[in-house]
C-alpha cells in the first residue's frame, strides 16, 4: 500500500527479478508510470476512498439543508447540484473504482497469474479517472453551476433546460465510461487467458466469477450510457431532437436508453460484493461455501435478467399495461436467484464454527442489511404499489440499503479481509471494531427512517419539505453526520496500516482462509506467480 512495499520486495528479491525493477522510478513518478497490478489496485482504492469522502461531504450538505424545514444553508439550485454530483461521484467515483481496485489486487493473485493481461492499458484506465472527476467537480465552479438535473439526467431537463456545464458533465461521463470499459476488458482477458494450469472455470473463486460476469455487463452497457450522453450533448448544442417531441423525438425514450444502461449498472455495483461475501463467510465459518455451483448459476441468472427489467424504473411514465406487467413479473423473478445467494450464505454459517473478526462483522451486516434492501426492492417491483413509492424517500432508502450497506459495506469487508495480506501487518482491530459499530448504528439511523417519510409522502430531490416530515428528517440528518464522521475512523485505520503499524501476520492471515492468495507470503511480494502454480 505504500512505497515501502516495493522497496522491501526489491531488497529481498533483488537478484531474482532485478530486470523487472531496474527502471522503476521512485516517488510520484513510480505511481504515474506503474503497470503493476498491485500498485494500480492501490491507486484505484485510494482514489475511490477520496471520492467517497468528497461525495460524502456533499451528502452532508444535503442532510444539513434537510435538518429542518425551510431553506437555511443552500439555495434550491445548488441543492440540486449537490444531489446530482453526490450520486455521480458515489456511483462512478467511489463504488465502481473500489471494485476495480479490488479486482486489480485480487484477480491475478486468485487465479495464479503474474499480473493483469494488459498492464499498460491498466495504467491508462486508472490515470484518466482523476481527470474525469476533475472536470466534473470543476463544473461546480462555473457560471451557472454544475449539473443540477439528478444523476439520471432526464431529458429535457438536461437538454433544453440545463446550464452550459452540461458539456463538461458529458465529457467527464465519457471518460469514466472509457475507463470502465478498459478496466472490464482487462479483467475479461486476464481471467480467460491467464489462469494457472488446473484452474478450471468451476474452480475459480467466486470473486473472480462475479467479476468476470460484471466485466461482461460493463462492456455491454457502458457504450449505451455513452450513447445517451452523446445524444444529450447533440440535443443541447447541435440542434438534434432525439428527446424533444417538438422535433419528432421522445423524452421517455431517454429514460428507456438510460435505464437499459442503468439497471445492469446496479448489478455491476453488487455482483462483486456477492463474490466478496462468498469469500469471507466460509473463512470465518470454517466451512465450505454451501453451494458453489448454484452461486455461479445464480450470478449468471441475475446478470441475464438485469437486461430485461429496466423499465421498472419507469412505471409512472405511462407505459402500456402489458409492458408494465412484463416488467413487474421479470423484476419479481430476480428475487429468486438473489434469494438463493442469501440462503447459501446462511446455510454456510449453519453448523459452522463461527468467529466474528472485523471482516466477518461487516459481512454479516451486509447479509442482513442488503436483504432488507432486497425486500424493499421486491415491494417496489409491485407496479400498483410502486405508483405510490416511486420518487419518494422510500426509494432513496431502498437504494441506499443496497448501495451503502450493500456495496460499500462489502468493500469495507474486503479491505479488512485482505489488508493484512497487502501490508503484512494486522490492522488496528480496536479501531476496526469502533468503525464497524459506529457505522452500523449510524447508517441505520440514517436510512431506516427514510422508509417511513417516503411512505408518508415525502418526494425525493426536494430541498424543503412539509412540516409532518420534520421529526424524522432531523434524526436522519443526525444519522448522516454520525455516519460521515465514522468514516474518519476508517481513514485513520488505513493510514496506520499503510505506515505498517501493527503485528506481523502469517501467510494464511485468517484461520480458515483458503485460496491461492493465502499461500503467498505476507505482505504479498511486488511480483507474484512469475511461475504459475499448479492447481490440483
Amino acid at each position: 500500500m505504500s512505497t515501502e512495499t516495493v522497496n522491501e520486495a526489491h531488497d529481498s528479491d533483488d537478484g531474482h527479478d532485478a530486470h523487472h525493477e531496474h527502471h522503476i522510478p521512485k516517488g510520484l513518478l513510480r505511481w504515474l508510470f506503474t503497470t503493476n497490478h498491485k500498485d494500480i489496485g492501490t491507486l484505484y482504492l485510494w482514489f475511490a476512498f477520496i471520492m467517497f469522502l468528497i461525495g460524502g461531504a456533499m451528502a452532508m450538505v444535503i442532510r444539513a439543508e434537510l435538518f429542518q424545514p425551510g431553506l437555511q444553508i443552500v439555495d434550491p439550485h445548488f441543492f440540486n447540484q449537490m444531489t446530482t454530483v453526490h450520486g455521480l461521484i458515489m456511483v462512478f467515483g467511489a463504488v465502481m473504482p473500489a471494485f476495480t481496485g479490488l479486482a486489480n489486487w485480487l484477480v491475478p493473485m486468485m487465479i495464479g497469474a503474474p499480473d493483469m493481461a494488459l498492464p499498460r492499458m491498466n495504467n491508462w484506465s486508472f490515470w484518466i479517472l482523476p481527470f474525469a472527476f476533475l472536470i466534473l467537480l470543476s463544473s461546480l465552479f462555473m457560471d451557472g453551476g454544475g449539473p443540477a438535473f439528478g444523476w439520471t439526467f432526464y431529458a429535457p431537463l438536461s437538454t433544453q433546460y440545463s446550464g452550459d456545464s452540461t458539456a463538461l458533465f458529458v465529457f467527464s461521463v465519457h471518460i469514466m465510461g472509457i475507463s470502465s470499459i478498459m478496466g472490464a476488458i482487462n479483467v475479461v482477458v486476464t481471467i480467460l487467458n491467464m489462469r494457472a494450469p488446473g484452474m478450471t472455470y468451476m474452480k475459480m473463486p467466486l470473486f473472480v466469477w462475479t467479476w468476470l460476469i460484471t466485466a461482461f455487463l460493463l462492456i455491454a452497457v457502458m457504450p449505451v450510457l455513452a450513447g445517451a450522453v452523446t445524444m444529450v450533448l447533440t440535443d443541447k448544442f447541435f440542434g438534434t431532437s432525439f428527446f424533444d417531441a417538438a422535433g419528432g423525438g421522445d423524452p421517455v425514450m431517454f429514460q428507456h436508453i438510460f435505464w437499459f444502461f442503468g439497471h445492469p449498472e446496479v448489478y455491476i455495483m453488487i455482483l462483486p460484493a456477492f463474490g466478496i461475501i462468498s469469500a469471507i463467510v466460509p473463512t470465518f465459518s470454517r466451512k465450505k461455501l454451501f453451494g458453489y455451483a448454484s452461486m455461479v448459476y445464480a450470478t449468471a441468472s441475475i446478470a441475464l435478467l438485469s437486461f430485461i427489467v429496466w423499465a421498472h424504473h419507469m412505471f409512472t411514465t405511462g407505459m402500456p399495461v402489458a409492458a408494465e406487467m412484463f416488467f413487474m413479473f421479470a423484476t419479481m423473478l430476480i428475487s429468486v436467484p438473489t434469494g438463493v445467494k442469501v440462503f447459501n450464505w446462511v446455510a454456510t454459517m449453519w453448523r459452522g464454527s463461527l468467529t466474528f473478526e472485523v471482516p466477518m462483522m461487516f459481512a454479516i451486516a451486509f447479509i442482513v442489511l442488503f436483504t432488507i434492501g432486497g425486500l424493499s426492492g421486491l415491494m417496489l417491483a409491485i407496479t400498483p404499489a410502486d405508483f405510490q413509492y416511486h420518487d419518494t424517500y422510500f426509494v432513496v432508502a431502498h437504494f441506499h440499503y443496497v448501495l451503502v450497506t450493500g456495496a460499500v459495506f462489502s468493500i469495507m469487508a474486503a479491505v479488512y479481509y485482505w489488508l493484512p495480506k497487502w501490508t503484512g501487518k494486522m490492522f488496528d482491530i480496536t479501531l476496526g471494531k469502533w468503525h464497524f459499530w459506529c457505522s452500523l448504528i449510524s447508517v441505520n439511523l440514517l436510512f431506516f427512517p427514510m422508509h417511513f417519510v417516503g411512505l408518508a409522502g415525502m418526494p425525493r430531490r426536494i430541498p424543503d419539505y412539509a412540516l409532518q416530515f420534520a421529526d424524522i428528517n432531523k434524526w436522519v440528518s443526525i444519522g448522516g453526520f454520525a455516519f460521515g464522521l465514522s468514516q474518519l475512523i476508517f481513514l485513520v485505520l488505513i493510514i496506520k496500516a499503510c505506515r505498517k503499524i501493527g503485528e506481523p501476520v502469517s501467510d494464511q492471515v485468517w484461520e480458515g482462509a483458503e485460496g491461492l492468495e493465502w499461500e503467498i507470503p505476507s505482505p504479498a511480494p511486488y511480483h507474484t506467480f512469475e511461475t504459475p502454480p499448479f492447481i490440483k
Binding site: G144, Y161, K287, S294, L354, L375, M379, Q388, D391, L455
Partner: protein, 382 residues
C-alpha cells in the same frame, strides 16, 4: 389494518418525540395512506400484504442466521460440520420463493389492470405541468381553466415567518372535482417532465412534454387532498404542490357554474382595462402583487436574481433602457432561456403592471409606465 399503523407508530416513537396527532387511518406520518378511492384502498392492502410477507421472510432468514451466530460459535466449542451442496434443499429454496411470487403477482396484476382502465369517464380534466406550477382545464367546460401556484409565503420558506400548518402543501387555486364520479385526468407538460401525484388517490403519473398520459379516480369522500410534483423538474421542484378539493356532485355543479360566470366576467374586465389607463400607484401596487407570486422565486425580492442562471433585474439593460420595453414585455409573454412563458398565466393588465413595477422598483426609477393596451398590441397587434 389500524393495528399495523399503530404498531409502526410504536416503533417510530423511539425515533420521534412529537405527538402524532392524526388518526391513524386518515393520514399516517409513518405509513402509506389508505386514501379515499376504492383503488387507493386496494393499493394500500397490496402494500401491507407485501410488507408482511417481507417481514415474515426477514424474520425466518435472519432468525436462522442469528440462531447460528449464537449456537455455532467457535468460542463455545462448535466444530464445523462438513456438508455442502444438497440438490433437494436447493430446489426447495428456488421453488418456494417462486410460489410466493405468484401469490403476490396475482392481486397486483388485477389491481393494475383496474388502475389503467380510463374508459367511460364522467369528467375529464387536462392537467398541464410547467416550471413550477400546474394548470387545470375542464374539458367539458372549456371556459373554466386556471393555474394553481404555491400559496406559501416566501417569508415562511426563508424562516422569517412562522410556518403554517400546510406549509408547502397549499395553493392559491385548488383543483375541484366531484365525489362519486369517474374523473379522468389527461396529464402533460409545457416544458420538462413533471409528475402529478396525489397519494390519497394512488395516482402518480408523469407529465411528459409533447405526450399525454391518462389516469383516473373515483373519490368516495369529500375533502381536501394534498400532493406534490414527484419528478425532479428544476430549481423549484420542491415548491409545486397539488391540492384537490372533492365536493359532492351538487356542490360541484354550483362551483362549476360560478367559475364559468367568473371567467366571463374576468374577460369583460380585461376588455374594460384595455380601454383605460391605470395610474402609476395602481400599476405599482398591482405589479408588486404579481411579482411576488410569479417572479420572486428566481429574480428575488430585491430584484438581484441569482446570477447567472437567474439574472438580476435591478440595473439591468432590459429593465432600464427605454427601447427595450418591447423586449421586456416579450420575455414575460414568451419566456427566454430558462425563463418560462407567462403569457398564458398572467392577464394583460397584470403583465403591464409587473413590467411597470420592474422598471421602477429597487432604484430602477425609469418612470416608464406600461398599460394593458401596450401589451395587447404586442400580443395581438403583430
Amino acid at each position: 389494518m389500524n393495528r399495523i399503523s399503530t404498531l409502526l407508530t410504536g416503533v417510530m416513537l423511539a425515533f420521534s418525540n412529537s405527538a402524532i396527532a392524526t388518526t391513524a387511518a386518515e393520514r399516517s406520518d409513518l405509513n402509506l395512506r389508505p386514501g379515499v378511492s376504492d383503488i387507493s384502498l386496494e393499493v394500500y392492502d397490496l402494500h401491507m400484504l407485501m410488507f408482511w410477507i417481507c417481514v415474515v421472510i426477514g424474520v425466518l432468514v435472519f432468525g436462522v442466521m442469528f440462531y447460528s451466530m449464537v449456537m455455532h460459535r467457535k468460542s463455545t466449542g462448535a466444530k464445523p460440520a462438513n456438508f455442502h451442496e444438497n440438490v433437494k434443499v436447493e430446489v426447495l429454496w428456488t421453488i418456494i420463493p417462486f410460489v410466493i411470487l405468484i401469490a403476490m403477482a396475482w392481486p397486483a396484476a388485477t389491481t393494475l389492470i383496474a388502475m389503467e382502465d380510463t374508459s367511460e369517464a364522467d369528467v375529464t380534466i387536462l392537467v398541464t405541468g410547467s416550471q413550477w406550477k400546474w394548470h387545470y382545464k375542464y374539458q367539458d367546460n372549456p371556459d373554466v381553466e386556471f393555474f394553481s401556484l404555491l400559496a406559501t409565503q416566501q417569508e415562511q420558506i426563508n424562516n422569517k415567518f412562522t410556518k403554517g400548518e400546510n406549509y408547502l402543501l397549499e395553493v392559491d387555486r385548488p383543483l375541484v372535482i366531484p365525489t362519486g364520479k369517474k374523473v379522468r385526468f389527461l396529464i402533460t407538460s409545457d416544458d420538462v417532465i413533471h409528475s402529478w401525484w396525489v397519494p390519497d388517490f394512488a395516482i402518480k403519473k408523469d407529465a411528459n412534454p409533447g405526450f399525454i398520459n391518462e389516469a383516473w379516480t373515483n373519490v368516495n369522500e369529500p375533502g381536501i387532498y394534498r400532493g406534490q410534483c414527484a419528478e425532479l423538474c428544476g430549481k423549484d421542484h420542491g415548491f409545486m404542490p397539488i391540492v384537490v378539493i372533492a365536493k359532492g356532485p351538487a356542490e360541484y355543479s354550483t362551483w362549476l357554474q360560478e367559475q364559468e360566470t367568473a371567467a366571463i366576467r374576468a374577460n369583460e374586465e380585461e376588455q374594460r382595462l384595455l380601454a383605460m389607463n391605470m395610474s402609476m400607484d395602481e400599476l405599482m401596487t398591482q405589479g408588486k402583487k404579481v411579482y411576488d407570486t410569479a417572479c420572486v422565486a428566481c429574480h428575488q425580492a430585491n430584484g438581484g436574481g441569482l446570477p447567472p442562471m437567474f439574472p438580476a433585474l435591478k440595473g439591468s439593460k432590459i429593465a432600464m433602457e427605454k427601447q427595450n420595453i418591447p423586449v421586456h414585455i416579450d420575455y414575460i409573454i414568451n419566456g427566454k432561456n430558462n425563463m418560462p412563458a407567462f403569457g398564458k398565466q398572467l392577464t394583460m393588465s397584470e403583465i403591464a403592471a409587473v413590467v411597470t413595477y420592474e422598471r421602477n422598483a429597487w432604484g430602477n426609477n425609469t418612470g416608464d409606465m406600461v398599460q394593458a393596451k401596450d401589451v395587447n398590441l404586442m400580443i395581438n397587434g403583430k
